[in-house]
């Protein structure tokens, strides 16, 4: 999918067309990429394309989900006027879950934290298909999010993405960023015995291309479906969630997961005495030097 940058109405029409296409192809769930209702490099247009949960556009989207549940990528505006890079799960005419992107890349070519507020929770939710987790693009580059997804009972992780192609290296059919994504999608699916549903966009914005290549990976690490690289595509595949049960029966790693140990160790690390003391020392020395300027 290749949305128009900052043109909400044009992209709503695209959404409607894709939903119709999904219905015609007897899809039961449709995934749109990150910020695909708005475009990605929005910069100062963020406030102009932001939608509150009770906006007219949201009502349109809700209605569209009566026949086909879907995940949308859009800018959500909170009641106190913060703007979030959000993924919203619509089902049966209702909003069932909103995920606000937690990890907003602000380095290199990215500037998300300049324009967006940061989400503060990562939670699985129940859908008509079973328990799922929504994570947006960079969220998945922080392994704590996928760990939480697994422990929160997700059978499938849905990741809308706007991942730019970069790093053309030798001996690969895809760029190096695409290679990295494919590696973690597969590793996460296999490690946590769940489905990875990864929806990435295509097209170019100001010369930056998005590599497409959406994919579905099953709990055994096998690729169920793959979209074209560097071009628009529409892929449909059977996601047989019972594969999660088979995989978890064979390799009950999640059963054996010691969550308490992890929590205890995390708390220890957070309260690490040495680090705490060092920070306090630095703070007090700064205060002192401000209070008592040295005189010559």
């Amino acid at each position: 999918m290749n949305p128009k940058l900052g043109d909400l109405q044009a992209n709503l029409a695209l959404y409607e067309a894709k939903i119709r296409q999904g219905i015609e192809n007897r899809a039961e769930l449709l995934l749109f990429p990150e910020l695909s209702l708005t475009g990605y490099f929005l910069r100062d247009t963020v406030p102009s394309v932001a939608l509150t949960l009770n906006s007219a556009e949201m009502t349109t989207l809700k209605k569209l989900s009566r026949d086909l549940p879907f995940v949308a990528g859009l800018v959500e505006e909170s009641a106190d006027h913060r703007f979030f890079n959000a993924a919203v799960y619509f089902e049966a005419g209702e909003i069932r879950h909103v995920h606000r992107k937690v990890y907003l890349p602000t380095y290199g070519m990215f500037d998300e934290q300049r324009y967006f507020a940061r989400g503060d929770r990562v939670r699985a939710f129940d859908s008509k298909f079973g328990r799922m987790m929504l994570l947006i693009c960079e969220d998945l580059w922080h392994p704590s999010t996928i760990y939480l997804a697994a422990l929160d009972g997700a059978l499938a992780v849905i990741c809308p993405s706007a991942s730019p192609l970069r790093g053309v290296v030798d001996g690969q059919v895809q760029d190096d960023n695409a290679r990295y994504w494919e590696m973690i999608n597969r590793a996460y699916a296999e490690t946590y015995s769940l489905f990875m549903l990864y929806a990435n966009r295509s097209g170019f914005e100001d010369g930056v291309g998005f590599w497409g290549g959406s994919e579905i990976i099953d709990p055994f690490g096998q690729r169920v479906a793959k979209a074209k690289y560097y071009d628009e595509d529409f892929i449909i595949a059977e996601v047989a969630l019972e594969a999660v049960r088979r995989k978890r029966t064979m390799a009950p790693l999640l059963r054996d997961e010691d969550m308490d140990m992890t929590i205890n160790e995390l708390m220890r690390i957070r309260e690490r005495p040495a680090a705490t003391k060092l920070v306090q020392k630095l703070k007090s020395s700064r205060v002192q030097s401000l209070r008592k300027p040295k005189r010559k």
């Binding site: 128009k4 247009t45 760029d175 914005e205």
Partner: protein, 273 residues
């Protein structure tokens, strides 16, 4: 040292998709390109013909009376190879008319004027033919500032700006730019006997590995020297990059308001597209 990666199959796929996407989203279907007879414009033209279709690309040859006759022959060879139409617009009359009034102008001023004259011809044809001007500046010359600001550096979209010269050569060879064009010595051909490497004082094969490590891989100065580049070379290139930064940016605007263009009025160029 590992060579600069040059996956020509992937580059070709990405760069043709780039041209197609960026041209079509403006509502246009065509591109104009100044064909100099050199490898950069040859590669740009080949990629554009592949991306947009031969009929949608126009090559413009703009020789000056002192231009090397080989340049025109090579430009025609390229046009033939990629199957695009060409137009000949000689720039001698207007250049000579101008410098008749400034006879003392040196080669650099004359060369820059020619580059800017060619730019105005390209932009006029872009309006005449509803086409975008396709750029031909590669990453090496953009970083070193080896180009004329608002001259050959001007374009609407540039497929080559992130490719080093040695990558341009490799990709040009792979997609079938005539060998005579790929293999000849690079020259801006602004005066007789001018060559890029003669003027810069080092070769592309020497400077590209340095730029790649310095810019793409973020090697520090000590790391570059440890990797075998001489201190003088490293410092010379670093200084060229710094001193030519102005060529890679829009003009500096004096900020007086709350919202100044490009500083706190920030929109992508493809806004609404």
């Amino acid at each position: 040292m590992s060579p600069i990666p040059t996956n020509t199959t992937l580059l070709r796929e990405i760069l043709t998709a780039f041209i197609r996407n960026e041209v079509h989203k403006t509502g246009l279907t065509r591109a104009v390109i100044g064909l100099s007879g050199g490898v950069d414009s040859a590669l740009s033209a080949m990629l554009a013909a592949e991306a947009l279709g031969q009929k949608n690309v126009l090559g413009i040859l703009m020789p000056y009376k002192s231009s090397n006759p080989d340049s025109q022959a090579h430009a025609e060879l390229v046009a033939q190879k990629c199957g695009i139409e060409t137009r000949l617009v000689e720039i001698t009359p207007q250049i000579d008319a101008y410098f008749a009034k400034f006879a003392d102008a040196d080669a650099r001023r004359r060369g820059n004027k020619m580059a800017r004259e060619r730019m105005t011809v390209l932009y006029d044809h872009s309006a005449r033919w509803n086409a975008l001007v396709l750029g031909t500046s590669n990453k090496t010359e953009l970083l070193l500032g080896y180009g004329t600001i608002y001259g050959d550096m001007a374009s609407a979209i540039n497929p080559l700006g992130d490719l080093y010269k040695t990558q341009v050569w490799a990709l040009a060879a792979a997609i079938g730019v005539p060998p005579a064009v790929v293999q000849k010595e690079p020259s801006a051909d602004l005066w007789t006997g001018q060559t890029d490497e003669g003027e810069m004082g080092f070769s592309y094969r020497e400077v590209d590995p340095l730029l790649y490590r310095m810019v793409d891989q973020r090697y520090t100065r000590p790391e570059l020297i440890a990797a075998g580049f001489s201190e003088r070379f490293v410092d010379d290139v670093a200084l060229r990059i710094m001193n030519s930064q102005f060529k890679r940016r829009l003009p500096v605007i004096a900020k007086v308001s709350q919202r100044t263009i490009d500083r706190d009025f920030r929109y992508s160029r493809d806004w609404g597209k």
